[in-house]
Symmetry: C4
Subunit: 502 residues, 4 copies
């Protein structure tokens, strides 16, 4: 017999000593959970005694509630007639209700971002748009592609054009994949599953975020035949949690590899995101397959407490381990998964070289500065690619090298491939597509990029992606900015040392 | 006995099943033609049952109607008294009627573009102004000239200055020619023939566009003694059509060469032009000596239909062949014309070198990125010229090298000539001149460029164009950006292979 | 028996012949002092016959009045009831009284400067903000850091991060110190002592300005255990005054070194500061431990009088010696202080090398262009660091090298340390922090920089500051701009000469 | 007995057949002179039958009227009572009458230009401000100095600073001279004589323009003891006129050299100046010691008349010879003057080298692109200096090298001297000074530049201008842009040829 509560009763329990919330029509006593909430206690207390469904839903995957609360925490149900009528803040809740946008009329990714920016909440925008410090790396990620000139050849039959390729041996129709981007339901209820549906239409690969707002099972549901997924792992301080996640992923055969993220062991400083915490109510941010734990960013000096984590980006870091190393992490991972590993977030040729020594466990690397969201003035992937070509080109033969960051045009895709990348990831592009039009918006993003990529290949006189190479691009203006400091000059010694350490 | 129709009767035939249109006072049944219209069926259907003359006229050369419709398609004439009075949309149709501009007061090409932009329709502007993607190559085409410094010599008698030169042995008064620019009547009723008249006044060469809005015969009518023309060929998928065009051109002795365009085998992505399709009525775009055929830009993947062609630029590509090659196309061309060939759209030294192996059939090349309208971030002609000078300077002796793109000043003309170009083409400049003042506007453009070129030559201390050379320019800032990748470094091998293939 | 004056009586004495002023309720006859006022006579005469306390107070340290006036100059006290009620100019005096800013909401140094700019007087802003001529060096000081890319390493345990280091053997918690910035009380009554308190909280070093608006004794009062101070010396033309200052400093054991400033022997041209003299009343500017003397900037040509000193910056230079040399000044200094010397304002590798020959007296150098306030287009410290690395890297082993100028982010701090700097100074940052929120504002500045520095170190994979090095940064774009003229090329000869001169 | 005319009578003679004008109260019949007016007949005819004094006066030196008209052309005087009352166009004639500016408050040359721009007529502004085509060289002339960094040395006694130097052996107090800038009375009635008075105050040299608005005798009247002048020569097509001018100059012993201008044998395209012809009435422009003759800029092609000369700049070119050569002009000049020759307008190291072969007749050269007014994208003097240093540094020892163009700051002056220039010229700076405040305005310009130069020298640690050298500047960013084409690479051969030709 479920007990039915009146709202007046629930609303009295709004203190740390007795804290109730209403979720999906049920009434929960979360008093004991307050201290363990990865997003912090403050956020829960702000919603104590109220119906928190609207704030809770878009950022928590289903099932997470049951995993974290004891059965007796569920006290009963709410009498819906006693709920107060909600008044939406017009600025925050109903941005521009000018009807669904005409996706056909959006001709490029900038226009899609522009539409999405108007459609989604300020908080979602801040989380997606933000990047480290002064956004210099975010900007350079894109402009570095503009510095590269193309070299079209003429008198080449270009009636046919084939954008298909393979990732780790799995055939895909596009050299473009969707990067592990968190919290997709903030942009649109279609969420990560909507991205998966768009990817199915275009034969594109998707890497599922460790902080997805839907469960992996939901995301890969009804995958198309041959559809390829990867799954992103942020190793948790409590390793058992990660191990449980890996076991869960192992049951989903469409997930073909683990993408271990290394470029953000601690969160970058994303001021736009931090500022958004002051807008509207604080959202209790929670990720999909992750179970709390305390933040690793403790100040080294007890006198000076570090600024409190704030913004969605900071909250997502709760529990993430900062103590990963070549020596300890890869062997541990080998024990808990048979899937091949792709290391994400390499930014120097030294690390690319090191990674290439870990075959066959490591089958690929993603050159990434985390979309400029981690360390500002970190190098764009184009730099790291050129570094590799200069100092250790053999890496490109040993493992697959993927890149992300700054891709806005098909010409960007083609340039990355000419430089030696096997594929390119889009993160914000997919999220803004989702924000602009749900799964159809993501499909429009892929449609545009595919068409631009084909036009570029044809005008270069190239039929298949494997034909693309350095003879089709002029990288002079970028090459003169590539690192040539000690690590590059003394590499024979360094390489010898690296191998000896294995 | 011609039948006379009332407008009420015609206007009933506005469906795919029965589609009539009024053109020049005649009534046509175009039902059977809808599916064959190169500009697409949608455009015809929008005008079905109405008087389409105003939309049809400025972009279709005379005679094209008769060529495409069977005699029985002409049903009769319209009773003019039954026509509805037209109401022009003021924004689109009567831009700024502040009287004809004072051409003398326009001092440079930017000012002429500014005036033309106000005078011509939004649709015409979009077609002329647009370029690929983000317009980076279009902008760089011009700014790269600004990066080059001049080196004036003093104490040189500069009382005389002679801008005359020759193209393929034909004397001209200017090293400047009008590039094959399509659809001139969109800018002004004087159209391509107006350009020809202005060229006659200044002794300048003109290359007639394959997509001109007047017939070649109209354009070259009343040519001045010694006036020189070329004719641009876009090879059609249905080769017989191109062969017929070549035969027709052979009858016009003032046309001295065939300019085979290679830099746009598929259309670039010109978003300004694509956007303009949504402005006002859709124009049924049709080119002068071209007879339909289906677009070659078919998607390689049936699941993902390519975005539909739109904008004038896209429509013009209908029927254009994308399967041209050195091996097949030049021999085919040799069978159908005795005129010398100029290859337009080369963007790499490799292709320039290859072209130079095809003398004597190929007598010239035009370094061009199609005014930035094909592939964005393609190199400007200045880059390709410097590449040729670096890797295969002998090309400059074997064939004539012309350039286009970005020319706005006499100093730009002189710099191109110093770099080794024999002549420079202007495209948008001529069209905007036409838009600003008809044939007098084009003449003003040539007058300005001629005067600026003379002033520049005199201040350099140069009397004749053949004296211009690398000692008169400082190209340091551009030279360090020139391609030096594998194709350049391994050129001896490449050249050997290229010759072996012949 | 103190005589009590009415305001009416005092106000009659407002001429050079008889000049009285009211300060802190007392009436002084300053007629004899007018000619000796370092800030010029004009300023005193403007305030003659009035209560000058408000203008005098924020820029004169306590005790300075008594030091400069004879006892008999104090005539008596003012009857406060006779004073006119003051009317503040709203624009100048009450800038924005929107309450104290929420320091937590200010996320970076730019935002703090923005808030401070609104809080402080226009005159204070002009003095802090201003720099030489066109502010080119000031801007470049910052942007040069943005030109340097970071090279984050992955798979490095970054749970711990330690920003502590030492300056001249004294342990500090931060590699960041507060530069000798003058006139802090213009920004906030907390003044230089407030800066000291903030430094105590974060274990940061502070260098006390020679032109502080508080006495050294006040500033170091209640220093925290282990807190480290330096004291800046501008050598006075009347050396005896400097000698007296050094003797006074010797009594303060928390002051660990003398920072001899060399980069501004004559004042730069700070136009913003000069313009501010025309705003509101002229302030009689006076520094803390400095006793007048005439300006050394005399024109070499009696026909052409140099523009009069104006602005706070100019006034502070009164009495500063311009005749310092390696040969004479260091030996003189050795006679009057046992403290180690840090030379501030070196801008070439030649001078850095020379300084390194003067160990052990000279223990450190500060590469500085005086915040861009002395000579415009002088090189930023990053240039000088790279010059040293190129031409005389041994300097970095012989003496400590500190830098200042342009630091706005933790990444800037880390980059300077990677280049070989032992520490970085912030000047305007601390003053704007003071302006934004007094000592708490300075603390917020240090808190932000510490947190940003830690985030940067962790994301690079670095635990301790001594691990930072050139392998963590890419300086290609800066390196190609580094001086390589004769002084660099002929350095072996130059070095030999330099040593021979010793 | 002078005849007295009524205005009504005069105003009837307003046709080419009978053209009278009133000047300074006299009535002249200028019918016969119309065809010979260097500024063109149109301008006279616009003023025919009216009182032309206001238009005539500021641009014609005294005496020019009598030189050009026969005595009988003076018909009599006007009855002043019959003159119509004049109505000034407020926009053109009374710009901003906010009283004389406070020159002391103007802190730099930009501020002086800003004030002058408001004070002077639009026509005068257009003439001074304008430069060739897109003003690229004008802008680069200045920004190239900003690309050069200074290298201040410390621990150098800088109590003394001496800016004196010598030009061609004549002592001057400043390394700054006033360039030959035409039409000074357009800016202010003080005219070129006002400039001379300001130069006397600061011991600066002045080069008198060939197109001055006052006679040379007026300009040098009451010269200070030791004051130094040069005189600019534009050789006239009618050589006899130039010979007469040289003879006249020979009678003025304060004029120490002839500055032969070579950088503008034909006028550049100054669009701002050309546009100004349409503002207000057309001024009959006339230069000081120049007597008409026809323009040499004849079109090479009778079909295409060159655009008519317009704007003040174009008018001044009337009669200027374009046929000067090393072989013919210098020997001719030797016959007509004993004064040393300074060649102005060299822009390449080749020409600098050639000039150095013509010692002792040629004693100096001025590297100049005519203030960017001749050929746009011509190199700034800094480029030519660096070219000389690279390819033929011996030139700097053989002859004096002066530079002009772009000088706005004392740091610019110092940089030019470090590069090897003996002096720097200011043109627009002096004219805008005149416009801002007459002779006091020019003095303020010199005062500012002198003070800034001294501050810069002191902060560099330099006492005398001859100590300045390449060790004080970092020119890396400019050096990589310096010409290194064939003329540089093949210079040994070129030099040999050049000497052989002598």
């Amino acid at each position: 017999m479920t007990k039915v509560f009146d709202y007046a009763e629930v609303s009295k329990h709004n203190t740390p000593e007795s804290c109730w919330v209403i979720l999906y029509g049920n009434v929960y006593d979360v008093t004991d959970f307050i201290a363990h909430h990865p997003g912090g206690s403050k956020i829960i207390l702000q919603l104590a005694g109220t119906d928190a469904t609207e704030e809770y839903d878009p950022i928590h995957p289903p099932g997470i509630l049951e995993e974290n609360l004891k059965p007796e925490a569920k006290l009963g149900t709410i009498n819906p007639d006693t709920l107060p009528s909600t008044e939406k803040s017009p600025a925050e809740e109903s941005p521009e209700e000018s009807g669904p946008p005409d996706l056909e009329s959006l001709l490029n990714l900038d226009e899609i971002e522009e539409v999405a920016t108007k459609q989604i909440s300020r908080k979602a925008w801040a989380y997606y748009y933000s990047a480290g410090d002064d956004l210099l790396s975010k900007a350079y990620n894109n402009t570095v592609y503009r510095q590269i000139l193309l070299r079209p050849r003429v008198f080449v039959d270009c009636t046919k054009c084939d954008t298909s390729t393979s990732f780790l041996g799995h055939k895909v129709d596009l050299p473009i994949y969707v990067s592990p981007a968190a919290m997709a339901r903030l942009a649109h209820p279609d969420g990560e599953h909507g991205i998966a549906q768009a990817c199915a239409t275009y034969g594109a690969m998707q890497i599922i975020s460790n902080n997805a707002s839907m469960t992996p099972e939901q995301i890969v549901a009804n995958a198309a035949p041959g559809q390829v997924f990867g799954w992103q792992l942020y190793v948790q301080t409590e390793r058992a949690k990660s191990e449980a996640q890996l076991a869960r992923i192992a049951k989903l055969p469409v997930i073909k590899f683990i993408c271990l993220t290394l470029d953000a062991p601690v969160p970058g400083k994303r001021e736009d995101d931090e500022r958004s915490k002051n807008i509207g109510s604080n959202l209790p941010v929670r990720s999909a397959v992750q179970d709390g734990g305390s933040t690793s960013q403790t100040s080294s000096d007890p006198k000076t407490p570090a600024p409190k984590p704030s913004g969605i980006g900071q909250s997502l870091f709760a529990g993430t381990a900062a103590d990963l190393t070549w020596k300890t992490t890869l062997p541990w991972l080998a024990k808990h998964t048979d899937l091949p590993i792709v290391l994400k977030g390499l930014q120097t040729h030294e690390d690319a070289y090191l990674a290439s020594l870990y075959t066959p466990q490591v089958k690929g690397i993603i050159l990434s500065n985390h979309g400029g969201r981690a360390l500002d003035t970190a190098p764009p992937a184009v730099h790291t690619l050129l570094e590799i070509r200069k100092y250790c080109p053999e890496v490109l033969n040993r493992i697959e090298v993927w890149v992300d960051g700054g891709i806005k045009r098909g010409t960007d895709v083609v340039k990355a491939l000419c430089l030696g990348a096997r594929g390119v990831g889009i993160g914000r592009g997919a999220l803004f597509g989702l924000g602009a039009g749900g799964k159809e918006g993501v499909a429009r993003v892929l449609e545009i990029l595919k068409a631009e990529t084909e036009t570029c290949m044809r005008l270069l006189g190239v039929e298949k992606v494997e034909e693309l190479g350095m003879q089709y691009i002029n990288t002079r203006t970028v090459e003169r900015d590539i690192y040539d400091g000690p690590a590059g000059l003394e590499r024979p010694t360094l390489w010898a040392k690296a191998k000896a350490k294995l």
